[in-house]
């Protein structure tokens, strides 16, 4: 038996964005955080922002976000990322500053900071991951948990009489005059991922053009704490989350619409 040394010509058709480090993520199998990270990194690459971007990591599942992005990073206290981003951006207005926050971080403990950053029209970009629970601490009820949804702190399902109703953050922020670009997308199918990428690109372009506050809410899966297989979790987004959190553009100021155009 002889072996033949064959030379194959290889063409890379899918590579890691250079703004994403080779570190193995700390996310559970089937979780869409990894997808969201990749999309943000692709946008940073495409806009050539790697050298001038400062990311603000949250407290929650993405607490290690700084390990996965190859850009300068700071680590905020729980919910305070938009305030920290404000401080960075006001000090260095020519840099790109983004926060990456989950729903416990942004909608619950950080409701004050996100709302006022948007109201001030801070020229920052917010990537908001909504997976309807507190993932990092083991699946407790979040402000975004759906009515009837079982979590470790709503064991019989979220009772709206006791725990109130979900907060629709994109809709809420869109009411603020200071917000320029506020949309909701999802990460549960390839088509939705492409749409999410486009929105993230626009959000960073809005900031680059100095047009003010941009936020992309991304419906995400949490198979571990939802106690589902990854495909079932994707389906659950389609069947349960999208009806409660409709996808769409909630605020696109004229300047952005034109510029997006």
């Amino acid at each position: 038996m002889t072996t033949q040394n064959v030379q194959y010509e290889e063409t890379a058709i899918f590579t890691r964005p250079s703004s994403l480090t080779p570190a193995v993520t700390t996310y559970c199998p089937g979780c869409t955080h990894g997808v969201a990270h990749r999309l943000v990194a692709e946008v940073i690459d495409e806009l050539g922002l790697r050298d001038t971007t400062i990311g603000v990591a949250p407290v929650g599942c993405a607490v290690f976000a700084f390990r996965f992005f190859d850009v300068d990073f700071v680590e905020a206290a729980h919910g305070r990322a938009p305030a920290m981003a404000t401080g960075i951006k006001r000090s260095l207005p020519d840099r790109t500053v983004f926060t990456y926050q989950g729903d416990g971080d942004l909608v619950s403990i950080g409701m004050g900071e996100i709302t006022h950053a948007a109201a001030r029209g801070e020229n920052i970009t917010v990537i908001f991951i909504n997976n309807a629970n507190y993932g990092m601490t083991g699946g407790q009820m979040a402000p975004t948990t759906l009515p009837g949804q079982k979590t470790t702190s709503s064991p019989t399902g979220r009772d709206v009489e006791l725990a109130g109703f979900p907060v629709q953050m994109a809709e809420l922020i869109a009411t603020l005059q200071g917000a320029s670009y506020v949309v909701r997308r999802s990460l549960h199918t390839a088509r939705h991922i492409r749409q999410a990428k486009k929105a993230i690109l626009t959000a960073f372009q809005v900031q680059q053009a100095g047009l003010g506050f941009s936020m992309v809410e991304l419906l995400s899966t949490c198979p571990t704490n939802w106690h589902m297989t990854p495909p079932d979790a994707m389906q659950w987004v389609e069947d349960n989350m999208i009806p409660a959190y409709p996808l769409g553009d909630y605020k696109v100021i004229d300047a952005v619409a034109k510029f997006n155009g």
Binding site: F73, V74, E75, A83, M84, G87, I88
Partner: protein
């Protein structure tokens, strides 16, 4: 430069500006609001960053963010606001970045009142946020000292990559005195190597108080301590008056130290050999000097506008080397020089009870003096 009549809150704000303050974030609270108002006009006209935040929580986290970029950053507030900032203060300490914070103390606890007080001594010097972290606390007693210390605070904060608190009270924030403002300093353009300003030409920087590995975080804690040991060696500040031939010593900081000085002068006129030690750096505390004086004098009187907070430090440092008496007015009441003079006269004419805590002696006397009766 000539002296001008200037209000304390405006004095420290303008001094910070002249020291190269690049970013200020604050929230209105009496009795420090004039600083925020002053900087709301001055910062934008010089092209520097100013935000009136949604809360002190927002303000301190904006401070945290701006300080991560390596620029000179400050906030100011008063007790309730400083309490709200403690989360960010702990994160800033754990991230080892320089920040200057001014606390214009008012009466506490709780909403308290807007009168001058010194009840935040323990919070500033020993307590505050969670975890182990040293911090520098400077307590001026007049407007010129407030200006000079604020001007220098940024250098000190940068030198040790740590928090520097300026601890004053409502009377100093509100009073006007003739004082001289320092010249403008150039704003530094070069970012320190650790700053997060964009990773051009290098690996990314990370500013973080988070370390999931306990052994590694122990190292961070010990690094903070090693820096603190340098601070203790280099940054002790105090002023003393009439101590050379003093048989008795008064110890007081900030406004209470200043009022005590009037009482000490009156006592001197009456032929009482009493001196005053006024600690300026409350942290690091002038330990060596206090211990040396405690070995020399026949008794000490600690005066504060609280219920005896620095008193705890004085007692633990002097280890019974001399009798200690305490006089304090908590909750926003300012002691009069005559009250302190009476205490000096008591100290020098009557034995100090040896087996009763100085705070208990003070409490019984003050409650009786005020005619108060509390239910058991």
């Amino acid at each position: 430069m000539t002296k001008e009549l200037i209000k304390g809150n405006i004095a420290f704000a303008e001094a910070a500006l002249r020291a190269g303050l690049h970013a200020y974030f604050g929230y209105p609270i009496t009795p420090q609001t004039e600083a925020l108002e002053w900087l709301s006009a001055r910062m934008p006209e010089l092209g520097r960053a100013f935000v009136q935040a949604e809360s002190e929580l927002g303000a301190i986290n904006m401070v945290y963010g701006a300080a991560c970029t390596g620029v000179r950053t400050m906030t100011s507030s008063s007790g309730p606001g400083i309490s709200l900032m403690q989360e960010g203060i702990s994160y800033i300490a754990g991230s080892e970045i320089p920040v200057v914070i001014v606390n214009v103390m008012r009466g506490g606890p709780g909403l308290g009142n807007i009168a001058p007080a010194q009840g935040d001594y323990h919070q500033a010097v020993h307590g505050g946020g969670h975890g182990d972290y040293p911090r520098i606390v400077l307590a001026p007693a007049n407007i010129q000292e407030l200006i000079d210390l604020t001007y220098e605070a940024f250098d000190i904060a940068e030198k040790y990559r740590c928090l520097v608190f300026i601890l004053i009270d409502g009377s100093m924030g509100q009073m006007m005195e003739p004082a001289e403002l320092p010249p403008f300093r150039e704003i530094k353009r070069e970012a320190p190597v650790w700053a997060t300003v964009g990773a051009k030409g290098r690996k990314p920087n990370l500013i973080c108080s988070f370390n999931i590995d306990a052994e590694a975080h122990e190292v961070t804690n010990l690094r903070l301590m090693s820096r603190w040991n340098r601070v203790r060696k280099n940054e002790v500040r105090y002023k003393e008056y009439y101590v050379e031939d003093a048989d008795y010593l008064v110890v007081g900081f900030g406004t209470s130290g200043r009022i005590a000085l009037s009482a000490v002068r009156e006592a001197r006129e009456k032929g009482i050999n009493v001196g005053l030690l006024r600690p300026i750096s409350l942290s690091p505390f002038p330990e060596e000097r206090l211990i040396a004086l405690s070995e020399k004098v026949k008794g000490m009187l600690v005066v504060e506008m609280n219920a005896g907070q620095m008193l705890d430090d004085v007692i633990s440092l002097t280890k019974g080397k001399c009798p200690i008496k305490f006089y304090g007015r908590p909750g926003g009441v300012v002691p009069m020089p005559e009250e302190i003079l009476a205490q000096i006269q008591d100290l020098t004419s009557q034995p100090v009870p040896a087996d009763i805590h100085p705070r208990d002696v003070w409490y019984d006397e003050l409650v009786a003096e005020l005619g108060l009766v509390f239910e058991e």
